[in-house]
C-alpha cells in the first residue's frame, strides 16, 4: 500500500517549500523538506487549497527555532495593528488611512520570559546551569534538538531513501516521527496556519482563506460602529455582528461531518436533537 502511493516527480521539484524567505535558518534543506512533508501530512494540499508547506509552515517553525538570533527575539509580535485594515472614518465607513504593520516589529522579553524561551528552545543542555528542575523532573529537551533528532529518527526509519520519493509520498514519513516530535510538529503546523502572517506562516493569508475567509485581525476598523446621528451601535452588512450573515453558507456540513459530531456526542453522553 505504501509503495503503491509513490509518485514519480523528482524530489528536487519540491525543494522550494518555505525556502523563499530570508533570515537566519536552523534547519538544513533536507530537514526543511522532511518538515514540509510532515506539515502537509497535518494539513494536506487538496482541491480546496494549498497545504501547510506552501502556506509557510516550515518558515514559521524555523523562525521560532531561530528566534533568539534577532534582538529582540522574534517571539511576540508588537502590534497593535497590521496594515490590513483601515482606521474607521467618523461615519463608521472605511477611511483611507491605514496604520503601518506594527506586527513586523517584535517586543523585548523580560528576564523571566527570556529564560523560559531559551530553555524551551535550547533545552537544559544548551542553557548555562541547565533547567531549574533537571534533578527532579529530568532535563528539558530543547525544541531545536527535539525536532532535529525526531526528523533524523524518521528519516532512518522510513523504508525508502527520501531522495528517491516525491513530496507527496514523503508525507508518510510523518508516521515515523517519535511521538513527542510528531506532537510538537502538529502543534506548530496548526499555529503556523492560523496565526498572523508576520510570524512566517499563513502565507498570503492562505490559512485563514482555507477556512472560508476567516477575517483574522480586524483592527483598527473592527466590526461595529456608533451611528453619529442616532448614537446607535450598527453593523456593517458585509460582516455583521448583531444580524445574520448576509452571504450564503460557503460549505455546509456534509453527512460525514455530521456523523462525526453524532459519534462524538454519543461518546460524551450528549443528545442529537434532529
Amino acid at each position: 500500500m505504501f509503495l503503491q502511493l509513490a509518485g514519480t516527480l523528482p524530489a528536487a521539484a519540491f525543494l522550494s517549500h518555505g525556502c523563499g524567505s530570508s533570515g537566519p535558518r536552523y534547519l538544513t534543506d533536507t530537514e526543511r523538506r522532511v518538515l514540509g512533508a510532515c506539515a502537509n501530512a497535518v494539513f494536506p494540499p487538496d482541491d480546496s487549497g494549498p497545504g501547510a508547506a506552501d502556506l509557510g509552515a516550515v518558515d514559521f517553525i524555523d523562525n521560532l527555532l531561530t528566534a533568539f538570533e534577532h534582538d529582540p527575539p522574534h517571539l511576540h509580535a508588537a502590534g497593535p495593528f497590521s496594515d490590513r485594515n483601515p482606521y474607521p472614518a467618523d461615519d463608521g465607513s472605511a477611511s483611507k488611512r491605514y496604520p503601518p504593520d506594527q506586527f513586523l516589529e517584535f517586543l523585548p522579553l523580560s528576564r523571566v520570559q527570556r529564560a523560559g524561551w531559551q530553555l524551551r528552545l535550547y533545552g537544559s543542555s544548551g542553557t548555562p546551569g541547565g533547567g531549574p528542575n533537571d534533578d527532579v523532573l529530568g532535563p528539558v529537551i530543547g525544541l531545536r534538538d527535539l525536532l532535529r533528532d525526531g526528523i533524523a529518527t524518521a528519516i532512518a526509519a522510513f523504508p525508502m531513501k527520501i531522495d528517491d520519493v516525491d513530496d507527496t509520498f514523503l508525507r508518510g514519513i510523518y508516521d515515523y516521527l517519535p511521538d513527542e516530535a510528531q506532537s510538537q510538529i502538529q502543534l506548530l503546523v496548526l499555529q503556523s496556519l492560523f496565526s498572523l502572517p508576520e510570524y512566517g506562516g499563513n502565507r498570503d493569508l492562505g490559512g485563514w482563506k482555507a477556512l472560508h475567509h476567516y477575517e483574522g485581525d480586524s483592527m483598527p476598523f473592527g466590526y461595529s460602529y456608533i451611528d453619529p446621528a442616532t448614537g446607535n451601535i450598527l453593523d456593517r452588512p458585509v460582516a455583521p455582528v448583531i444580524g445574520p450573515e448576509t452571504t450564503p453558507d460557503p460549505e455546509p456540513m456534509d453527512d460525514q461531518i455530521i456523523g462525526l459530531f453524532a459519534a462524538a456526542s454519543a461518546v460524551l453522553g450528549g443528545k442529537q436533537f434532529y
Binding site: F43, P44, L75, H76, A77, A78, G79, P80, F81, F103, L107, P108, S110, R111, V112, Q113, P132, N133, V136, L137, L187, L190, Q191, L193, F194, S195, L196, Y199, W208, A210, L211, H212, E215, D217, M219, P220, F221, G222, Y223, S224, I233, P240, V241, I242, D249, E251, Q256, I257, L260, F261, A262, A264, S265, L268, G269, G270, K271, Q272, F273, Y274
Partner: protein
Amino acid sequence: MTTTVLGNSSLDRFDVLVIGSGASGGAVAAMLSRHGQKVLVLEAGSNYFPGIDQAAPQPYPQFGNDELKLLHRFQIQPDPIAEPRTFRHSISDGDRLAVGDYATFAKTVGGGATHADLKTPRFMPDDFRLGTILGATATAGGASFVDWPVQYDALEPFFLYTERLMGVQGAVGVDPQAGPRSGPYPMPPGAAMYVAPRVAAGIAKFGYTMFPCPTAINSVPYDDRPACNDCGFCQSHPCVINAKGTPGVTTLRKALLTGNCQLRPETRAVRLLVDGAGTTITGVEAILPDGTRGTFTADRYVLAANPVEDVRLLYLSGSGRPLGNSSGLVGRNLMLHHGVNVLGVFEDQLHGHRGRGSTHAFTDFRKPSDRSQPIGGIVVVTTVPYLIQQALTYLGQFGPLGVKGALLKKMLRQARPRDRLLSLSMYGEDAPQPTNTVDLDPAVRDIDGIPVARLTYRPLDSYEVAAEKFFVPKMIDIVGASGARFGAQAPNGDPPSSGHLMGTLRFGADPASSVCRPDGRFHDIGNLYGTGASLFPTSSGFNPTLTITTVATYVAASMLFPGMPERALA
C-alpha cells in the same frame, strides 16, 4: 514593553506597598493614592501599556488580534517552563501528580483583568450569607461555608463606585437574581451577539430569563476611552483600543496620574521581611528586572497578587510555615469555580468571531435559598472564535475517531467553530474546603530557583459535582431548544479551568477561624493586609472581577477610614 519605574519616580518613601497590580492591587492603589497616600506597586510581570502614567489620550497597548502570542506564547501568562505550578488531588497522591500551568493566572501590569473578557456581575446578596442559608449542611462532606463578615448592603455603595471606576455596561432590572442597586449602570448594553436572541428564545421555553451580562467594556465613549468596536478578540485577549476597563486603563492608571503612586514592573516580590516578634512587616525583598535583588519598605503592606501567589509569598517568608497563620488557615479553602461547559453544534453561520465572545447570561441556576435545586452559578453564552485553539480541540476530540490530515482540513472548513459552535458555561459555586490548599512544592523550583506553589484540589461531590449532574442535562436541552443539532458536555478541566481563583486568606471576625479581619488586615500582623479574591470566604456563582475590585476598594477605604470606609467614597 516598559521596564522603567512608572508614575512618580521621585517618590522614595511610601505609606503603603502593594504587591500586585491587577484587579485588587489597582483598586487599592487607586483609592489610597486618591486620598494622598504615597503608594508603591510592585508587579512581577511586564508592562504593555505605554503611556499608562501619562495624561490622555492614552496610547494603544502592545497587544493585538494575535492568538499566537496571547494564548500560545505566554505574552502575559506565566510560562510553565519558567514558572510552573504543581498539582495533586489530595495528600494521598504524594508530593504531586503533575507539573505545569495549573490554575494559572496572568502575570502582567493589570493582572488577570487585562485579558479577562470582564463580565462584571455583582455577587448577589445571598452569596454573602451561605453559612446561614445552608445551616447544618454548610459543613457537609467537608465543606466550610460561612457568612462573609461584610454583607451586600455594606458593599453596595462600593459596587456602584467600582462600576463607575471600571466603566460597566448593563441594564437595570433584567437579572431576576440581582440585588438592589443605588444607581444605574454607567453605560447601556453594547452590541448583542447574533446568537443571543435565539438562545433567549430557547431558554424561555424552560421559564428562564436571559439578559445582557454586565461587562466592563465601553458600549459608548466613556472616561476618555473609546467604545468597543466588536473586533472579536475579547475572550482571553486584552483590548487593543482600551475599550475594556482593565486596571491598566482604569484603576492603576488613575492611581499613577495622581502623582502619589509609583509602579515597578518586572519586580518579583520573593520575601516579606518581618520583625523579631513576627508581628510587623519591615520590608519586601524583590528580584529586580535585571535579576539582582533589592528591598522596598513602607508603613503598611498589601498582598494583591492572587490567591495562589499571595500564599506562596507567605510561605516563602516564614520559617518552614507561612506568616500570619495562627488560625492554621493560610492557604486553605482554595476555590476555582466549578466551570462546566455544554457545547451546541449548529448548522447555521453564527459568526461568533465577530463581537464580544459573550454578551448574555442567565442566573436561574443560582438560587441558594431554593433548596429544590443544587447551588449552581451564572450561565454565560459564549462563542468559539479562535482558530488554533479550536483546531487543537478538534484534533483532541475527534482524533480518536480518525480525524486528521484531509479530514481535519475538511472539518475545519465545514464545521468552522466560529460558525457552528456555541458554549453554555456555568461558573458553579465551588464549595470551600480546608483540604483544598496552596502550599509550596517540596522540590520543584521556578527559573530563579524559588519553590513553586503546589495546588491540592478536589471538587466536592455534595456541592459542585451534584450541581453539575443536575444542571448539565438542562443546559444540553437549552442548546437543543435554541436550534442546535447536537448538544454535549465538554470535558471538565482538572483542576477546573475557570480562571477564577478565590479563597486562601479567608476574612472574618474570629482569629481562630479566619486569616484576616473584616477590614482585610491580618489578625496576626499589624501592618499587613489581604485583599480581593484571597479574602473570599465563599466563591459565589458569578464572575468575580467586579467583587474582587469592590472588596479591594473596601479594604483600601477601611485603611483610610477605619470603621467608616464609606467616607472614602465621597
